[in-house]
C-alpha cells in the first residue's frame, strides 16, 4: 500500500484552468533549492524571495541599480590580446573569443559614470561570466583610466569586485596589474577623492590582495566568498576542514576587514548616503 491516498479519484483540474509554465519562468535558488517565479526573483533584486540568497549579477545590472537613471559607459574600446600566445588545454585567444561570444562583453570589467543621489560617481564593475572575472591587462587599464577620469572630473570612485583573481593566461602582466591598480589608487587618494570598494561573490586572489581591500570604505554583499587563497587550496595546505562561514562577508566583517554588509535592496540608498559625506 502506498503511503498516501488520493481523496478523489482522477485529476479534477479542468484543462482551461491549467497553468502554462514555459522555460525561464521559474528561478531555482542554488542555496535553498526553492523555486520562485523569475518575475518575483527579478523584482527582489535578483535575490531568492525565499532565503534572500544574492544571485550573481553582471555589471550592467549593478549600473541600473545604482545610478539615477542614465549613465555613460567609458573606455569600452579596450580588448584583451593574447600577447604571450598562451596555450594550456585551449589557446587563450580562443578562450577570449568564446567568452566574448557567450557574454556579449569585451572583457571582465566595465566602467560607467553617472549620478547617484544627484552626486557624480564613476564605477568600475567586474563580470564573473567573462573568464571568471579574472584580472588581466584590460581590467587593470580600465581601472587606471577610470581613476584618471575620476580625478579629472572630481567624481567619487567605486569598484565592484567579482573575480576569481588574476588571469593566469597573462602571466606576469596580470600580476603587475596588482601593482598598477594600487599605484593608481594611491594617486586617487592623493587627489583626496573617496574610493568605495564593494565586494561581491566571489572576490579572491590578486583582486582581493590589491584594489578590493584598499577602499576608504570596504563593504560587501551578504554571504559573498571573499579571501586571498581559495578554500580548496587552504584545505589542502592545512589538511583540515574549514569552519563554517569561513571567508564569507560576515567572517570578514567580524575580523575587521569590512565596514558593513549591505543587502542588495538597500545598495542604492547606502551608496547614496556615502557619496554625500564626501
Amino acid at each position: 500500500m502506498g503511503w498516501f491516498r488520493r481523496l478523489k479519484d482522477g485529476i479534477t483540474t479542468k484543462t482551461v484552468n491549467k497553468k502554462d509554465a514555459p522555460d525561464g519562468v521559474w528561478y531555482k535558488c542554488k542555496k535553498c533549492k526553492e523555486a520562485s517565479t523569475t518575475k518575483e526573483f527579478k523584482e527582489n533584486f535578483y535575490k531568492c524571495p525565499k532565503c534572500n540568497a544574492h544571485a550573481r549579477i553582471g555589471s550592467e545590472d549593478y549600473f541600473d541599480l545604482i545610478f539615477d537613471g542614465k549613465y555613460t559607459e567609458l573606455f569600452d574600446d579596450l580588448v584583451s590580446k593574447d600577447f604571450l600566445s598562451f596555450t594550456d588545454l585551449k589557446p587563450y585567444d580562443k578562450r577570449l573569443e568564446v567568452a566574448k561570444k557567450k557574454t556579449g562583453l569585451l572583457d571582465a570589467m566595465t566602467v560607467a559614470t553617472g549620478k547617484t543621489n544627484k552626486k557624480s560617481l564613476t564605477i568600475a564593475a567586474m563580470d564573473f561570466s567573462f573568464i571568471g572575472g579574472s584580472m588581466g591587462s584590460v581590467v587593470g587599464e580600465k581601472i587606471a583610466k577610470a581613476i584618471d577620469y575620476s580625478i579629472e572630473n572630481r567624481t567619487a570612485f567605486m569598484i565592484i569586485s567579482k573575480s576569481g583573481g588574476a588571469r593566469m593566461m597573462e602571466s606576469a602582466f596580470s600580476l603587475m596589474q596588482m601593482a598598477k591598480t594600487s599605484v593608481k589608487l594611491a594617486q586617487l587618494a592623493d587627489a583626496k577623492l573617496p574610493y568605495f570598494s564593494f565586494m561581491t561573490d566571489p572576490t579572491t586572489g590578486g583582486v582581493t590582495a590589491s584594489f578590493a581591500m584598499l577602499g576608504d570604505i570596504n563593504f560587501a554583499e551578504p554571504e559573498a566568498l571573499i579571501g586571498f587563497a581559495g578554500p580548496r587550496v587552504i584545505r589542502e595546505t592545512i589538511k583540515q576542514d574549514l569552519p563554517e562561514g569561513f571567508q564569507t562577508s560576515e567572517f570578514l566583517l567580524d575580523h575587521g576587514f569590512l565596514d558593513f554588509i549591505v543587502d542588495r535592496k538597500d545598495l542604492k540608498q547606502k551608496i547614496g548616503d556615502l557619496v554625500c559625506y564626501f
Binding site: 579596450l78 594550456d88 587599464e141 596589474q177 596588482m178 599605484v183 594611491a186 587550496v233 587552504i234
Partner: protein, 326 residues
C-alpha cells in the same frame, strides 16, 4: 654537491675527477694534466648546459637546495646589519626578515623573504611563505626608512604568501594590498631584486619599487608552474609546459619591460659561487641606490607611477566614438 636532473652529465664528470684525484694522491702516476683536461671539460660542459636552460630548469635552479638566501646576502653585502623583529600588532614572522644595515657608509633598510637551510629551519621559516604579519613588519620598516630618508632594499624569494586559515583571518589580502599602496608612494628609493622564486602576490607584496631586478636564474610569475598546471591542465603533470607558457624567466620579464634589469649569476648558478654572487648583487644595488638618491622624492614617485601605469598589453578597437550613452 647536489646535481639537478639536467646537470647529470656533470655528475659523472665530477665522479671521474674525484677518482683521478685519488689516483694522483696515491703517488706514482702524474695525473695533473688529465685533471686539468677534465676540469676544462667540466667547465665547457657546464657552459653548454647553462647556455640554453628552459623555463622549468630555471625554476629548478631557483629552488636549488644550496642556493643562497636573503640572510646570506645581507651578511655578505653589508658591513653592519641589525635585524629588527615584529609587526607591532601580532607577532614576528620568520619568513620575512628585515632590519637596518650599512651599505658602504649609507644606512639602508633591507627586507627579504627567508627560507631555511635545513629541514628544521625550513619549517621554522615556513618555507619562505609569509603570513600577514610578515608584510606588516616589512611595511613598518619601510615607514621607518621613509622617516629617516633611508633607501629600501627588498630581496624576493618566496613560493607564495602562506595560504593558511589564520593568514586569512588576519587579512593576508589586506596586508599585501596595503604594502602595494604604501610602496607606490613611499618617499624614499625602493630597489628590489628577485634572488630565487618570485611567486605571485607573496612576491609583489614586497616587490613594488623604483627598480626591480632579477638574478639570471630566477623566475617571476602570477602563479607557480605546478599550481598553474593543476588549474589549467587539471593535472600536476604539466609543470614543464606551464613553466614555458607562463614565460616566467628573467629574459622574458625584461623583454616585456616588467623588470628593469637582469643580474648575471656565476657559471652554474648562484650556489656555485655565493660570495661572487653577493659581490655582483651588492655592486648593482649600490649603483642603483646612489642614482635614485640623486632624485627628489616627487621625481621618483612620478616615475614609479608612470612605470607601473605602462604595464599591460591590450588592443584598442578602431572606432571613432569611444563613449556610448545608455
Amino acid at each position: 654537491m647536489v646535481f639537478l636532473e639536467f646537470e647529470k652529465p656533470l655528475e659523472s664528470l665530477y665522479e671521474q675527477l674525484e677518482n683521478l684525484k685519488e689516483v694522483g694522491e696515491k703517488g706514482d702516476i702524474d695525473v695533473s694534466d688529465k685533471i686539468k683536461e677534465l676540469e676544462n671539460k667540466i667547465k665547457s660542459e657546464r657552459k653548454e648546459i647553462y647556455s640554453s636552460l628552459t623555463g622549468w630548469q630555471k625554476v629548478q635552479l631557483s629552488r636549488h637546495p644550496e642556493r643562497p638566501y636573503s640572510l646570506f646576502y645581507i651578511r655578505e653585502m653589508f658591513k653592519k646589519f641589525t635585524e629588527l623583529h615584529g609587526d607591532r600588532y601580532f607577532k614576528d614572522d620568520k619568513a620575512i626578515v628585515g632590519g637596518l644595515a650599512n651599505l658602504d657608509g649609507q644606512t639602508v633598510v633591507v627586507i627579504g623573504h627567508q627560507k631555511g637551510v635545513n629541514t628544521k629551519m625550513r619549517q621554522y621559516r615556513n618555507f619562505g611563505m609569509a603570513n600577514p604579519e610578515g608584510y606588516r613588519k616589512a611595511l613598518r620598516l619601510m615607514k621607518m626608512a621613509e622617516r629617516f630618508d633611508y633607501p629600501v632594499i627588498c630581496l624576493i624569494d618566496t613560493p607564495g604568501a602562506f595560504p593558511g586559515l589564520e593568514a586569512e583571518e588576519r587579512g593576508q589580502a589586506e596586508a599585501i594590498a596595503r604594502n602595494l599602496f604604501e610602496m607606490a608612494r613611499l618617499r624614499v628609493p625602493i630597489v628590489c631584486a628577485v634572488i630565487g622564486e618570485g611567486a605571485s602576490g607573496g612576491a609583489i607584496g614586497i616587490g613594488l619599487g623604483d627598480r626591480v631586478f632579477m638574478l639570471e636564474n630566477t623566475w617571476y610569475s602570477v602563479i607557480s608552474p605546478e599550481s598553474c598546471s593543476s588549474i589549467l591542465w587539471r593535472s600536476w603533470d604539466y609543470k614543464e609546459q606551464a613553466a614555458e607558457a607562463l614565460k616566467l624567466t628573467a629574459d622574458h620579464m625584461l623583454d616585456f619591460k616588467l623588470i628593469d634589469g637582469i643580474i648575471k649569476e656565476p657559471l652554474g648558478g648562484a650556489h656555485n659561487s655565493p660570495e661572487e654572487m653577493a659581490k655582483t648583487l651588492k655592486k648593482h644595488l649600490k649603483k642603483e641606490v646612489a642614482e635614485l638618491m640623486e632624485m627628489t622624492p616627487d621625481e621618483r614617485i612620478s616615475l614609479r607611477v608612470e612605470k607601473y601605469s605602462r604595464m599591460g598589453q591590450y588592443d584598442t578597437l578602431k572606432k571613432k566614438v569611444a563613449v556610448k550613452s545608455k
